[in-house]
Symmetry: none
């Protein structure tokens, strides 16, 4: 058929619709019917294009995780001072979380359910580089001494938890959505203060 092969609009439509349902609206349990309705297509097309509901979910999950890794690495391998990199990382994380408020929750819960994802190859190189830069900072006295990995866990926790557990926090702390948003907007500064001396 002498025309460019274009990965079916419908296929993309379904995937994007499902992604938004998950990450923007938090509807992790969405049925094929609900996805189909949201995308305004016939329900069985999901099976047609993705073989099974589960497979669609996996693909979306996989792509989201990959996206995360890519952007993390972009920052690490960039040519900026360490502290600047962390700031960038926080910025981009928050940006992402604003667009996809349920992304983090979804990844967490998928992994809790035991869905694995293929590991990227160059982890060794990545962690080595991080360690080097981190230890340099510690030596300079900008960061308290600790295992580099603990530092990473700290970053991840401080950034992600408020998003992943937003309803929990709002309920526990009795704060409105507006107040919570304000809290979030001040968070970058707080996190930097906590991570660095």
């Amino acid at each position: 058929m002498g025309r460019d092969y274009k990965k079916s609009d419908t296929e993309l439509l379904i995937k994007n619709t499902a992604r938004d349902l998950f990450f923007k609206e938090g509807k992790f349990g969405a049925t094929t019917q609900e996805i189909a309705d949201a995308a305004k297509v016939n329900r069985t097309l999901i099976n047609y294009y993705f073989r099974s509901r589960n497979n669609l979910f996996s693909i979306i999950f996989q792509e989201a995780v990959e996206q995360e890794e890519i952007f993390t690495q972009e920052i690490l391998y960039s040519d900026l001072p360490f502290k600047q990199k962390i700031e960038n990382y926080i910025d981009r994380s928050f940006q992402r979380a604003k667009e996809f408020p349920y992304l983090e929750s979804y990844i967490v819960s998928r992994l809790n359910e035991g869905h694995l994802y293929a590991k990227k190859e160059d982890w060794e190189r990545f962690i080595e580089r991080f360690k080097t830069e981190f230890e340099e900072e510690v030596r300079k006295g900008n960061i308290k001494e600790m295992e580099p990995i603990q530092f990473i866990v700290n970053i991840a926790s401080l950034i992600s938890f408020p998003f992943a557990a937003r309803p929990l926090l709002q309920t526990t702390l009795r704060i409105s959505t507006e107040e919570f948003d304000k809290l979030i907007s001040q968070r970058k500064e707080v996190i930097m203060k906590v991570l660095f001396k």
Copy 2:
């Protein structure tokens, strides 16, 4: 145990079994059949005692949340120096998380799905007391200046995230369960280091 024991053993058995399934094994989607099998009782006893699956889930959820609040308050209202309280809180959180590794995830995901829980009355008093003690510490120069609520969010994040997102972290950081446990065991010290100057 020479005393009468009521509230039906079976009822308790079912509730505890379900609780363990959820919080120890992370099987949030457990069907009535699975719960019944685990408890070695007839499936319909779940309906007999709890009317509906959903109701059982709600009760377990409710009780877990209440337990959390109780123990948090016990610590705050105790007669110890602020720093000591935080240490205690971390200790007890870790203890709890060791017993119920999926507790945090469960609460987070239930709340993400929109299940509310009744609010305790004395929040005002609680937060006032916390603020007072917190600000005293800031004044003394033991903690960097920030909104008290941000400090609370920091504590919660640093403690809970590694448990709630354990599979995510293990996968991302390529570390084994043993390594992760070791990481956890060193975490109290790290958290204290980060929270206090």
Copy 3:
């Protein structure tokens, strides 16, 4: 146990409660739980006293039908003029229907479902006597000529249908409960007018 055997109060209580549920409130589908609740007894007592739900229903049904026959015969065998007997029959039917509005419906629907009841012996005698009196009236010119049995069917229809089909009639004829009650109160006169010349 040296005391008079009294067919357990509870047994009677259950039966009467069920009867009222059926005939006064029209709850033909009442579950054992509902009956037990209404009687304020333990559910399983129904099985204890009546072996099965079905059996209880049969007994109530049986008794109701017998009651009907008894009172019908009482009237026929009384020493009154034919027309007076019919009037009495209408009166007593209406009285009964006022006390047990759903009695007729229940009997009709039970029989529609194929539940039989034992036949009384003296039907032959009963119908013979009726025919004799009826034909005498026809001869006297008080009633239009027809099969005696058609006359019986007419009586039954004119009396019972408005009760058995009350909701249908109220809905179809768009009349309120009050209006319907008024209609009923005038009905005896109408029926007599229709049955007799």
Copy 4:
């Protein structure tokens, strides 16, 4: 039948099968399985087409009631003498009852259970017209004086009760199905005799 046929054969098949089960065989309590078996389709197709068992029942009920109203009105608004109309009404009622012996019972019992149906608009006009014609007959001396509505109740009772309560009557009157059918066949004449002077 050289024309397209839609609205899914199966959907119609299920509906008709259920209808027959109800109205021809009197199986009001038919389960989805029984309906499916009778229609020789998969049980869940009932849910597929009608969403729920209850909904199927409602539809069948609704349609039956509408059918009744339509045919009643057709007769009233026809251009015939009053007496002729009544004769036609009896004829068509009997015809219908022969095809669907349990129709009347079903409607009665559904309404006894509190299921409503949407009311037709033009009742006012209908009843006005009926009153006018009826009172004309009374004036002419063809019918005994009574409320028009009582006359309607009489018609309905005399026609419907023998069908709705057939088993009751057969049992009470000790007559066989053949005898009852014969009785029915003579009934039109009897009813006319009773309604008119």
